[in-house]
């Protein structure tokens, strides 16, 4: 009967065994292939990610580059402010913002009144932000020196652009005020040290805290 013959062949079929290599290394070989496929996938993914990242960097870099030429009130001016914020934070030099905003005031002092108004507002904001950052990072003196330089530049710009003298005078007053605040705080610290020389020597931490409290009260 055919069924019996098929059954006999089935017994032979079931005797077919894998070669020794497949038995001992089959899974190992396959595992390597699975891993390499995964790696390939990751590489492709990483490659795409890298390309995308580079593209973003190029685009962002290009925008920031173009934004450096933006004047107050221009579309890309906020990008320029953001880039300066990053530079000031990364370099730990809060005065960078003041220098750049001050230069903008001087640059536009010969241009339209609207741009000069905008530049002066941004300069005032940068003074406040940078003063606080400088005090927090202990760079009050550097900040005061920067303000000295800026005041001189503003005075020179006043002579060059008499039509903008009033606005530049406003910038000078803002500069003097900010410098006064920074120096006043430094004087206050000195007074504390002079009033309590012993405590100051014995407990430097307390002195430091007083200075901090004074600073925060002042900021408020």
């Amino acid at each position: 009967m055919i069924e019996e013959k098929l059954e006999s062949l089935r017994k032979e079929y079931l005797k077919i065994g894998p070669p020794i290599y497949l038995e001992h290394h089959g899974w190992q070989d396959l595992y390597t292939k699975l891993e390499s496929r995964q790696d390939l996938g990751l590489n492709l993914l990483f490659g795409k990610g890298l390309a995308f990242g580079s593209l973003l960097l190029l685009l962002f870099g290009g925008v920031v580059g173009v934004a450096q030429a933006a004047k107050p009130g221009n579309a890309l001016y906020q990008v320029k402010l953001a880039a300066d914020e990053v530079a000031a934070t990364v370099l730990q030099k809060p005065e960078i913002k003041v220098k750049r905003r001050a230069q903008e005031v001087i640059n536009v002092s010969s241009d339209s009144k609207e741009q000069l108004d905008e530049a002066t507002r941004e300069y005032q904001k940068s003074l406040e932000d940078s003063r606080q950052d400088a005090q927090r990072s202990g760079r009050g003196q550097d900040f005061a020196n920067t303000l000295d330089e800026q005041e001189k530049k503003f005075r020179k710009a006043q002579e060059d652009n008499p039509q903008s003298a009033d606005k530049l005078e406003e910038a000078i007053k803002q500069t003097e005020q900010a410098r006064g605040e920074v120096q006043g705080e430094s004087d206050e610290h000195k007074e504390v040290d002079e009033d309590h020389p012993i405590e100051s020597q014995n407990n430097p931490n307390q002195d430091h805290n007083q200075g901090k409290n004074s600073s925060s009260n002042h900021d408020d």
């Binding site: 013959k5 098929l6 059954e7 006999s8 062949l9 089935r10 070669p19 089959g26 396959l30």
Partner: protein, 177 residues
């Protein structure tokens, strides 16, 4: 060892160890199926490995509700065998069968004339009929699974199975005559 369905779940999540256990469960059967169809150890080994590689790649699409995992594997193996026979028409499955006569298995088979005749008769069947015989009678799979693998309806498979047996008888009769 874990339950197969849990292993499949884990493998579908990318767990290589789980897939390794699945491989251990099935590789001998897949190799045997490939070897019987191709008659060549090296070719069978390559197809076997490729089957598991393809199965892994398509694993996220595999649904345990849609059919058994062994049917899934055998279907992949069968497709690879068909692809191979299409690419290398000059080396047909029948030729593999002839070439295999010199190997151990057929040497034993030659000692048993009936078995040789059946084997020869199976080789003369068309591809679908041959797979039905192997899967249904040798691998003892259910009609549902075999129908899934060869891509026909289960009802048709039952009818077809009877016809195949009849055809085999005729071929063997003719060979003996």
């Amino acid at each position: 060892m874990d339950d197969l369905s849990k292993l499949i779940d884990r493998a579908q999540e990318g767990d290589h160890d789980a897939y390794g256990q699945i491989y251990t469960l099935f590789y001998k059967r897949i190799f045997r199926f490939c070897k019987f169809n191709t008659g060549n150890n090296n070719v069978a080994q390559d197809i076997c490995q490729e089957t598991f590689l393809k199965a892994w790649k398509s694993l996220p699409n595999f649904s345990q509700k849609g059919g058994s995992f062994q049917a899934y594997l055998f279907k992949i193996a069968r497709n690879l065998i068909i692809d191979l026979s299409r690419k290398k028409k000059e080396v047909s499955i029948e030729n593999y069968e002839q070439a295999d006569r010199t190997q151990d298995l057929d040497e034993k088979l030659q000692k048993q004339e009936d078995i040789t005749n059946v084997r020869s008769a199976i080789a003369k069947l068309d591809e679908v009929d041959r797979q039905i015989v192997i899967l249904r009678y040798f691998e003892e799979m259910s009609s549902f699974e075999v129908a899934k693998i060869v891509g026909i309806r289960e009802g048709n498979l039952r009818v077809k199975s009877h016809r195949i047996l009849k055809k085999l008888k005729e071929i063997i009769q003719n060979q003996n005559d």
